[in-house]
Point group: C2
């Protein structure tokens, strides 16, 4: 049974604090294993990739081929059934449109002292996208990671994906083709992240690595942060639904279960101001669970991590939601804007009764790679900015340096840095 809390109960503050602090992330310490794999790929290169792929993915790269060719990807796209092809193309187009609006503007100005200064954005040269094999091999993840990179102007976009037993996932290849991925390598795990960061004879290194993965992949990205840029380390997925009693309980139950079916560690939380509605949703969840092929996973997630919180008024829920800083937040009310105006911390917000979170997972346009585990307090979903970097610039002439230079000389002196002071002072008449 999921947790049931009522904000008007004594003991609520402590119980809610425990919910906020509950850690669902694995404590498994794979850091030493991962460090060893990274070091091995760094020193042995392709030989390490070959051996580790044989060990973990049970296929011989020299036999299956190291890469999936552009032609194979294109063939996978051409082989999709029409409905799926149209769906994938709609998703790609909408994701492209949304992310194109994220492209930052260069700026430049000349200030009152006559100093010219500004910022210039450029895409990174090369980016790598990790795509998990097996159950979590989602074509939607390929689009969500690859398209922002392409919009950013990345010239070389590399995909790495394990192909356990040598088997490729045609949907993933089709998405790679549609998104304009330039290279696809059949390697996975921490060894694939190491190859992208350090490079091997076969794989030229990249500048940024993004994409979801298991604990080994996440730890490899964390250890290589600084050698390459990475996206935020991601934990189990989560949804918070704020709903009044006028919703259809079956709709809200489906929304809660759409997170629960991802993984046993996923979390779904309902806030409502209507106790009767809370009961109806709880019943609807049980009814719906029985119909799902993902029942076992969803049931474990819901029973272990799910929660229903009743509050006197929905506006009070928002204060509690901010403490959770959820990855996904649905505001399932007729007029969601006043509630949304109060929200400070959430990865992505879904407004109104007709905006299920899942529509955002696929086709709406905003990215579905979002901060988890309360990280929406300080971080943002994946965007074009993750594949770009900013260079600031500055130009003084004799006159403008004369205006601002003396202050720099004074500060350099106070900091005990005489060459700093000299480099400015020597240019002042």
């Amino acid at each position: 049974m999921p947790l049931r809390l009522d904000a008007s109960d004594t003991g609520f503050a402590d119980a809610f604090a425990a919910l906020v602090d509950a850690r669902r992330e694995s404590d498994a310490d794979v850091s030493r294993d991962v460090a060893a794999i990274l070091q091995r790929v760094r020193t042995e290169g392709d030989a390490a990739l070959h051996a580790l792929t044989l060990q973990f993915d049970r296929h011989d790269l020299d036999a299956t081929g190291w890469r999936v060719s552009a032609e194979e990807c294109r063939a996978a796209l051409d082989g999709l059934d029409t409905e799926l092809r149209i769906a994938l193309e709609l998703a790609a187009a909408r994701i492209g449109d949304f992310h194109a609006r994220q492209k930052p503007q260069d700026s430049e100005s000349v200030d009152s002292a006559g100093v010219r200064l500004g910022s210039r954005w450029r895409g990174v040269d090369a980016a790598g996208v990790y795509v998990p094999g097996g159950r979590a091999a989602y074509p939607s993840s390929v689009l969500m990671n690859a398209i922002p990179a392409k919009v950013a102007g990345v010239e070389r976009l590399v995909m790495v994906t394990p192909t356990p037993g040598g088997e490729v996932n045609p949907l993933v290849l089709a998405a790679a083709s549609l998104a304009g991925v330039d290279e696809v390598w059949r390697v996975g795990g921490a060894q694939a992240i190491a190859a992208l960061a350090y490079g091997t004879d076969r794989i030229t290194p990249v500048d940024v690595v993004t994409g979801p993965g298991n604990a080994w992949v996440a730890e490899a990205k964390r250890q290589l942060y600084g050698v390459v840029g990475i996206d935020m380390v991601a934990g189990p997925s989560e949804i918070v639904v704020v709903a009044d009693g006028a919703n259809d309980p079956d709709w809200i139950a489906a929304d809660l279960l759409s997170q629960a079916e991802h993984d046993p560690t996923s979390q779904s939380i309902l806030f409502t101001d209507d106790v009767g509605f809370a009961d109806r949703v709880a019943e609807a969840v049980e009814r719906t669970l029985a119909t799902l092929s993902t029942e076992a996973t969803a049931r474990t997630s819901w029973n272990d991590n799910g929660a229903i919180v009743t509050v006197p008024a929905l506006t009070e829920a928002i204060r509690l939601v901010d403490r959770l800083a959820p990855e996904h937040l649905e505001l399932a009310v007729a007029d969601p804007q006043p509630l949304f105006d109060k929200v400070r911390h959430a990865g992505s917000v879904f407004l109104g009764r007709h905006t299920p979170e899942a529509v955002g997972d696929y086709v709406a346009g905003p990215n579905h790679v979002l901060p988890t585990g309360r990280r929406a307090r300080f971080s943002s979903g994946l965007s074009v900015l993750d594949f770009m970097k900013r260079t600031s610039f500055l130009a003084c002439d004799e006159s403008s340096l004369a205006k601002i230079g003396p202050a720099a000389v004074a500060l350099a002196g106070a900091e005990g840095l005489p060459a700093h002071a000299l480099s400015v002072g020597i240019r002042l008449k």
Copy 2:
């Protein structure tokens, strides 16, 4: 003696590759020591801070006080001599102006399907700025870290700084007062970063931690990345100067030494198309070194890590500069724009003969916290964005969900996620 390379020599490619790959960052593995300190602060809180401060900074926090009050900071500001006060105020005003222009715009639109979608930016609730004690306690660093946070709208800005032997640095306190820092705590090292991330009874946790520090501080930030947001892990400082023969060799020598005096591991590299000029700069460096109070540090840096590279033409230098992706790049020529247009990778660029890098360290406006160690390939200087996060949002109504929903149902089905499909499908008539 610094390295001398000529791009037309045989063997240049290998020698330059070695320069690019040379690692100047400490290999000292402090990760286990740091992990122990973080764990101790996490479990013991203020008692750990007290004990570690006694051990490392040799003062008793209960005797010296845990905090520096706002009044003490204000008194330090009021006690500055007039020239320094004016210089610090000019710097703060210009840094504020530059960073105010970085504030991102919220965006919102309704697309052709009738879907309303967009992004909203908010400052984080609280940020912590680390300020080193001792030699590297720079008031300019306080301004460069604190002002972007304030511009971002951070409500609670916390400074932590070690006060070895109990001694505070009045310049740092003055800068904190000017920048609007809300709390100053006399703790430093990995233990200060742990206190900011986990919180203690005395110190409420923050959401983002920035600021320079030694190897322990850098490793603490790396290990706590994800618990809090952090700025890029920084390595030794570096400058590349691209200069033609028409420059005054003394000016360029001062620029090279302004990086060299920071630290023995700093790096200064000159690219020029004039061999005679290269010789004159080398002589000027020797002459200038003898005049500096920072001679020992600057000489070690210049001899161990410095380089002078002669190239047939300065345009060819830019291709080489991009491989170094330097933190600071000076283009000391009469018309720098054509060279600047070709630059892809640099943290900050200083254009023309009258723009010494040091003017950017203090008063120009752009941030002086910049990516080092070739990280300008994928990362950017500190900015207002480091203290903000973006929430995406989405609103469908019955009509727009009818248009894009079926594609989401199809993709969810293909990914084997029935509750995802159901949550959309159940809302379609």
